[in-house]
Every structure is written in structure tokens, then in C-alpha cells.
């Protein structure tokens, strides 16, 4: 589904990604871990189409299409979704209208008629129920004045509404309380099927107890330096990153 080959990228002349290779197939869950500043959010932003970063080498294909050439909105319509690490507040834009517009633009892209108002409301109720999101949040401006956890939950709610084929969750667990973490994880598990895939960026093994990854990757200095199964996350939880950093330094020397 997603195939990243030798991806290199920079911002303001500063190299951040140094040749990322990643293959994600339908039905899989990949976890990406790694120290602060290693490039995890940069990678997800580049997949979603943020233009500020300059891709200097490599390729990203999604379902066989080169998405580096596509606008962010086209990628979203193709089925890519990014749950932001720091969702931005958009005062004055109603959450409901925003969601309806997003859904309809995607439907239009796929040659479908706009969603019926009743269907929209019904889906909204179901998905809110799924992650127990407070109804009052959708009647407010998008993320405006939301608490940290509410913003994260709203990202997952949007994901549930948009039903992407590839969802990248950038530290969605940070800021969620214990119950919310469980609900959000359960939500993800319910949305999971053989045709979609998840890339979960996290610092904490705990999330991976709920959302069980098929692969765990460690990103360090803009490179995936280690990959393994879910036991790698446990090992990291126990030992930290130093041993991996050491391994990398040794190879470099």
C-alpha cells in the first residue's frame, strides 16, 4: 500500500530525513518509535503533503501512485490520513461544517454525490459513540479551546468519519488520559480491517499493548535504524535508546 524508498528531505537547508525505507501492506499495523527530534513528525508531514519540507531524493508511492506529486488534499482523497501530534485550532470554523465539507470533497473526488444530511448525522453519532466523544465538542469551532486530550480524541473522531485506507497517528496517545487511551485504541481496533493500514508513532509501549503492531521501527537521526516485531518495543521500554544509538555509532565508525 505504502512504499517509501530512500526518502531524504530537508528544511531550510537542514537535512532531516536521511534515506527512509518503509513498506506498509494492507491489514498491517506499523509502530514507529525513536528519540525526540529524530524525524518522526517530519516523515508523517511529508507523507501527508506538507510543502515546507523539501524532498531531495527518494520516492513515496501509495497504492502504486507517486504521491509526492500530489497536493495534500488529493492524497487525503486517495485515502491518506494524518492525526497530528499538535492539532491546530481554527477559530470560527464549525467542526460539523468542516467535517461535512471534508467528506463531500472526498466523495466528489471519487465521483459520488454529497452525503445525505441524515446519513451524515447518523454516521457522526455512531463514530462519536465509538470513542465516547463529547457531543458538545462538535458544536464548537474546530479545536478552539479544546484541551490537549480533546484535540487528540477529535483527530481520531475525524479519522473514523473519513475512513482512510492509511492512517498515520502521530503521538495520538500523548495527552490522553488512561480511559481515553483505551477508548481510542479500541476505536482503532474496530476500524481496522484487511484493507486498511495504520502507522502509529509513539513513545510508549503502553499504547502497543492495546494496538498490537505487526512491526516496530526505530527512527534515529532521520533513518530507520532497527526494525522488529512487538518485542522490540518492550526491549526499548526496558533499555531505552542508548544501545541502539551505540550500535549506530559503531557502524558509522
Amino acid at each position: 500500500m505504502l512504499s517509501i524508498k530512500n526518502l531524504q528531505a530537508e528544511i531550510e537547508g537542514k537535512q532531516i530525513l536521511n534515506g527512509i525505507n518503509l513498506e506498509v501492506k494492507a491489514g498491517e499495523i506499523h509502530a514507529i518509535m525513536g528519540p525526540n527530534g529524530s524525524g518522526k513528525s517530519t516523515l508523517s508531514a511529508i507523507i501527508a503533503g506538507r510543502q515546507e519540507y523539501q524532498v531531495t531524493a527518494g520516492s513515496i508511492t501509495f497504492n502504486g501512485k507517486n504521491i509526492l506529486e500530489m497536493s495534500p488534499e488529493a492524497r487525503a482523497c486517495e485515502g491518506v490520513f494524518l492525526a497530528f501530534q499538535y492539532p491546530i485550532e481554527i477559530p470560527g470554523v464549525s467542526s460539523i461544517n468542516f467535517l461535512r465539507t471534508a467528506i463531500n470533497e472526498r466523495r466528489k473526488y471519487n465521483g459520488l454525490e454529497p452525503i445525505e444530511a441524515t446519513d451524515f448525522l447518523k454516521t457522526m453519532r455512531e463514530k462519536m459513540e465509538l470513542i465516547k466523544m463529547d457531543k458538545s465538542l462538535t458544536s464548537r469551532s474546530l479545536n478552539e479551546g479544546f484541551s490537549g486530550g480533546e484535540k487528540k480524541r477529535n483527530e481520531i473522531f475525524q479519522m473514523a468519519m473519513l475512513e482512510p485506507t492509511l492512517a498515520i497517528l502521530d503521538e495520538t496517545d500523548s495527552g490522553l488520559d488512561i480511559d481515553a487511551l483505551r477508548l481510542v485504541s479500541e476505536g482503532v481496533n474496530k476500524l481496522r480491517n484487511k484493507d486498511n493500514a495504520f502507522v502509529v508513532i509513539t513513545h510508549y509501549q503502553r499504547l502497543l499493548d492495546y494496538i498490537i503492531p505487526d512491526f516496530v521501527h526505530v527512527l534515529y537521526k532521520g533513518r530507520i535504524v532497527k526494525s522488529g516485531d512487538k518485542s522490540l518495543a518492550l526491549e526499548l521500554e526496558e533499555k531505552g535508546y542508548d544501545w541502539i544509538k551505540n550500535e549506530v555509532e559503531q557502524v558509522n565508525n
Partner: protein, 432 residues
């Protein structure tokens, strides 16, 4: 002939026929005003209040005072989207009142909705008492010019304890199809105790020639009276406008004023409030959308001359292309005006590198127990907000429009007449 000479010439012409109307107060005022105009002249950029707005283009124009109107004006009137409002509609073209094109639906009660010229012929006591009492001419060349040679305008009198059911819609059209047009509307609106009225001033234009609309509004709002006042400016092409509005408020009066400036080559608004009694409420909101080389200048002045009054001001602008906007908001808290609450904000979004905004809040506070805040922001559309919307599948164009509409919404919310909100939305849709 430049404008200054033209005014003097027109005044001599007026003098030749003066005995027609020498009986009344207008004559006296006209004489005083022409003297003031000759002394003060047109404002120029050496005047601190006119530093950013240059009337050079206007002062060198010559105008023709033809009274013929073309079919274009009638067409414009018929297509006017405000026609959908059930209103007392008064139509002025090139400053003259057109009774046959107007439709006054509430003239039954003691309420007077008419034109100034009719009221003048009736030797109105209201004019005697109020006309020229609020809009200052000393040092105000353009007000003096209007007073000396005013065409006509709306006269409204709402007696005590009355509510005008339907809005009063004043459509001012300049028809510059044949010649350059000078139009000088003059409106006087009197709202007595406990009464209320909604007023819409609508400015339109047609024709390829230049026009200068020089308006003076005097609005007297007595105790506990309520006025909703909307100004919609959408004159196109080479049209210039100076719009002076003075509200004079007595105790516990309420004003909600919204100015929408959507088109015009050069517009200068002077919006003044004078709080003559306690517990007055004045809300003033504005939205301007500028493009090409439009120049839009909003000068506002709120005189907190009495204690316990509240004013809230918010002006927002979106600037495109090489356009320029000016915002200058003056709040004057007089010596005795304790417990004043005055708020003012100006926010701008620049959509191009070449657009310019000059914004300046001015607080002059002479009382000690007051709450005043002000602030101005100038920014661009937020890239991160755009990206967020796009990342959900919304096209860049829609995302821009969503954000700009959200920006304008705060002003739109202050408009209680849905048709006006629609005009605003349509204009944003069209231009952005």
C-alpha cells in the same frame, strides 16, 4: 475647473436663485459653510488626519451637474440584491430623490420617512432644531462643502415610543454614464425617546466616468432609543466617496453600527459617536475587502463624554493586490466619563505582498476610572491552518475561503438582516 473652483462656481449659481429658499435655515447655514469651505479647503496629506489618504485625484476632477439619468441606473436599481428586503425604500440618484422609484411603506403613523427637500418646504420645526447641529463644519472642509451645496437626502423622524417595523433602506446611486458626477447626499435621522429604527445606507454606482459622493449623516438618538445602522459600500470603477456620520446619543441609548466596504476606488469613512448621557451603548463593527488599487480608509471616533458608557469596536479587513487600507480608531474619554468601558480591535489579513495597511489606535483618556483596551493585528492566512484543512481532503481554494469566511464571520454575526449577510458572503465568494 478643479473641485474647489467648481464648488465656488456652483455656490455663485446657487446665490443667483437664492431668494427661492432664503426663508429658511438652510440659507444661513449655506453661507456659513461656504465661508468655512473657502477658509479650510479640501483636506490634504499635511493634515495629520489625512496623512494616508490623498484626495489629489478628486480635487483635480471637473464635474458636470447634469440631472439626466441613464437606463444603467435603473437597471442597477432593479438588480440590487437588497430589493429582497421588505423595507421603506428611498432612492437617490446623483444626489436627487426619485419618488417614483422609491417605496415608503410606513408613512401612516406619526413617523416621518421622507426626503429633506420635502421637509424643508414644510418649514419643519425638526430641521430648525436639529439640522447642522451635530456634524461639525469648522475645520472640516468636506462637511462644509456638503452643507454649502447639499443636494438632498433622507429625513426620518421617529416620535417617542415608536418602532419602525421595517428597515429604512437608502439607496444612493451615482450614474457616471455620461459625465463625472458629484453627489452630496445629506441625511438627517431623528429617533426620539424609547423608539427604534433600522437604517441601511447602500451605495452603488454605474458608468465609466468618475464620481465623488460626499455624504453627511446626522443621527440623533434620544434617551433609551435604539438604532441599528448598516452601511454597505459597493461603488465600482472610478468612484470616490467621503462618508461622514455623526451619532449624537442621549442617556441609555443603544447603537449597533456595521460598515461593510466591499468596493470603491477610494473611500474615506468618518464615523463619530458622541455620548451625551450616561449608560450609552455603542457597537461599531466594520469589514473591508479591498482589491486592485482600492484605497479604503476608516476613521472612527468615539467621544465618551459621559460616565458609565460602553463602546465596543471591531474592524476587520482582507486586502488583495496593490490595495491600501487605513484604520484609525480614536477613543476619547472625557474628564468626567468615569466607569467608561471601551474596547477596540483591528485585524487584517494581507493576501498579497503588495497590499498595505496603516493601522493606528488612538486613546485619549482624561478620566481615571476607566477600562480601555485596543489592539491591532496584521497577518497572512495561516499556512498550518490551511494545511490542516487540506490534509482532510479540502481543496486549497475551499480551505482559503473557509478561513476567510471564518475571519469575516465575526462581523457578519453582528448583522441582523440576513440579506446583508448574503451580500457579504457573495462578495467574499466572488473576490477570494
Amino acid at each position: 475647473m478643479n473641485l474647489q473652483e467648481q464648488i465656488q462656481h456652483d455656490f455663485r449659481k446657487y446665490l443667483a436663485h437664492e431668494n427661492n429658499d432664503s426663508s429658511e435655515i438652510f440659507a444661513q447655514l449655506r453661507h456659513k459653510a461656504i465661508a468655512e469651505f473657502e477658509k479650510t479647503g479640501l483636506p490634504n496629506i499635511k493634515n495629520e488626519e489625512w496623512k494616508y489618504t490623498n484626495l489629489r485625484n478628486i480635487s483635480s476632477l471637473s464635474f458636470n451637474s447634469s440631472s439626466d439619468i441613464s437606463n444603467n441606473a435603473k437597471k442597477l436599481l432593479n438588480e440590487n440584491s437588497l430589493n429582497a428586503i421588505k423595507a421603506n425604500h428611498l432612492v437617490f440618484i446623483n444626489g436627487r430623490f426619485y419618488n417614483d422609484l422609491s417605496n415608503i411603506i410606513e408613512n401612516d403613523k406619526s413617523i416621518i420617512i421622507s426626503n429633506l427637500e420635502t421637509e424643508r418646504k414644510n418649514n419643519s420645526v425638526h430641521l430648525e432644531k436639529h439640522f447642522g447641529k451635530y456634524a461639525k463644519i469648522e475645520g472640516e472642509g468636506l462637511n462644509a462643502m456638503n452643507t454649502a451645496l447639499l443636494n438632498d437626502g433622507v429625513f426620518v423622524y421617529v416620535p417617542i415610543n415608536q418602532k419602525v417595523e421595517h428597515p429604512i433602506l437608502i439607496t444612493n446611486i451615482v450614474d457616471a454614464t455620461e459625465f463625472n458626477v458629484l453627489s452630496q447626499p445629506r441625511n438627517l435621522i431623528l429617533v426620539e425617546k424609547n423608539s427604534s429604527v433600522q437604517i441601511i445606507e447602500n451605495y452603488l454606482s454605474t458608468g465609466i466616468n468618475a464620481s465623488f459622493t460626499n455624504v453627511v449623516n446626522e443621527i440623533f438618538v434620544d434617551e433609551n432609543a435604539k438604532v441599528e445602522h448598516y452601511k454597505i459600500q459597493q461603488q465600482c470603477g472610478e468612484s470616490y466617496q467621503n462618508n461622514f456620520t455623526q451619532f449624537f446619543q442621549n442617556t441609555s441609548s443603544n447603537i449597533n453600527q456595521v460598515t461593510l466596504t466591499l468596493d470603491g476606488a477610494l473611500i474615506r469613512n468618518n464615523l463619530h459617536f458622541y455620548m451625551n448621557g450616561e449608560n450609552c451603548n455603542s457597537l461599531l463593527y466594520g469589514f473591508y475587502l479591498t482589491e486592485k488599487n482600492n484605497h479604503i480608509d476608516n476613521h472612527t471616533r468615539v467621544d465618551h463624554a459621559s460616565p458609565n458608557c460602553y463602546s465596543d469596536e471591531k474592524y476587520k479587513g482582507i486586502l488583495k493586490d496593490e490595495s491600501t487600507a487605513v484604520f484609525n480608531g480614536k477613543i476619547i474619554v472625557h474628564v468626567d466619563a468615569q466607569k467608561t468601558n471601551a474596547y477596540q480591535r483591528n485585524q487584517n489579513i494581507l493576501l498579497s505582498e503588495t497590499a498595505t495597511i496603516n493601522t493606528k489606535p488612538q486613546l485619549e483618556i482624561f478620566a481615571d476610572d476607566v477600562k480601555c483596551t485596543h489592539g491591532a493585528t496584521i497577518g497572512r492566512l495561516d499556512d498550518e491552518q490551511l494545511f490542516y484543512l487540506q490534509s482532510r481532503g479540502i481543496s486549497k481554494d475551499s480551505a482559503r475561503r473557509i478561513l476567510l469566511n471564518a475571519f469575516a464571520d465575526e462581523i457578519a454575526e453582528r448583522i441582523k438582516i440576513p440579506e446583508l449577510v448574503q451580500i457579504l458572503e457573495a462578495e467574499i465568494e466572488k473576490k477570494l
